[in-house]
Symmetry: C2
Subunit: 223 residues, 2 copies
Amino acid sequence: MWQLLQFPLCPFSRKVRLVMAEKGVPVELIREYPWERRDEFVDVNPAGETPVLIEPDHGLTLIGSQPIAEYFDEAVERSPLIIGDAAMRAEIRRLVEWFDEKLFREVVEPLMVERMRKRLVNKESPDTRVLREAMRIGNNHLDYLDYLLDHRRWVAGPAISLADFTAAAHLSVIDYLGALDWRGHRQTKDWYAVMKSRPSFRPLLGERMDVIVPPTHYDKVDF
Amino acid sequence: MWQLLQFPLCPFSRKVRLVMAEKGVPVELIREYPWERRDEFVDVNPAGETPVLIEPDHGLTLIGSQPIAEYFDEAVERSPLIIGDAAMRAEIRRLVEWFDEKLFREVVEPLMVERMRKRLVNKESPDTRVLREAMRIGNNHLDYLDYLLDHRRWVAGPAISLADFTAAAHLSVIDYLGALDWRGHRQTKDWYAVMKSRPSFRPLLGERMDVIVPPTHYDKVDF
């Protein structure tokens, strides 16, 4: 069976878990806290980052959320995630990159540093200036999602795709950290309620990180 | 004909130019300086970043180097770039991400800010502390490339792939900015000499950015 080295608040681990659940591929979860820089982990992935996916029986090691997502979309026919004609596939990959890079760097990463890492590792208080700025930009990202969902049924087009799962993975981490203000974002809120109710999403929402408690609406489909 | 909005020292634009040249797809180059944030450009790509590729006759717009590379690798059979079995394809994509994110963020981007942006836009001097740190990390990246090329014929395995073109695109920008010290990196130097001699690479090496002059070895295959 596949083994996924991951931790609950890693958005890229969440993306892989969603992909594997949608594809119906069983996986054993193994907690890895990348900031501990465990020797055996860094030997496998020199970038020192989650997720890493291992199939010990076949000696396969897959590293990084996008290579893993592309792998399963090529290998498993069920629930295709990069779909449609060439233009649609490019649009899906553009938005995946948007969330994995732009949303991550501007919002998810600073929130993880301030609200998780400083608490767990550095035992420091968060920098409220950084938090406020991340939340302000997070709000702009919700505006952009509203705009997309005003023009399309799903994030990248008429059908659900990897863009939806990627966006939802990142938003779920922001939401866990109590930094999403859903007011005024009806389109994205409705879409996220649908994403949350998928069987692939439920296990993520039930998981907790020690010490860090999500807001009460976090795991509710009706929020 | 395809039109590529790009600028000479953008490593992602270079990656796309290499891919298109290898695939034999003609393209018209249009210079775009993303920091000017031209309205029409930001309307097309809300991220405000190069490269953007447009096919006016078919109304196609492709955004971002990896979506564009995946597009042409799916659409054009010649010179396949994401090749081999599933494990090899995942390894190619892992390394592409390594160069596009890690090498870019740690080395290429700070060098572009200090040696290009500050000069062209802010009319400031570079921060030598930032420059030194970027060059130090750049040297570690060359060590990692040496290690890969010690074990493999090409960067990701036995055949040339998108990982080679991506690495070469980023290295060529660092080299243009005079920040690569090739001493002690024989494996990577030999490999880069081969990359430089490919017909797809020659046009890149002939191009110049106003005001910023590359070192004399920059466009020489024998350096």
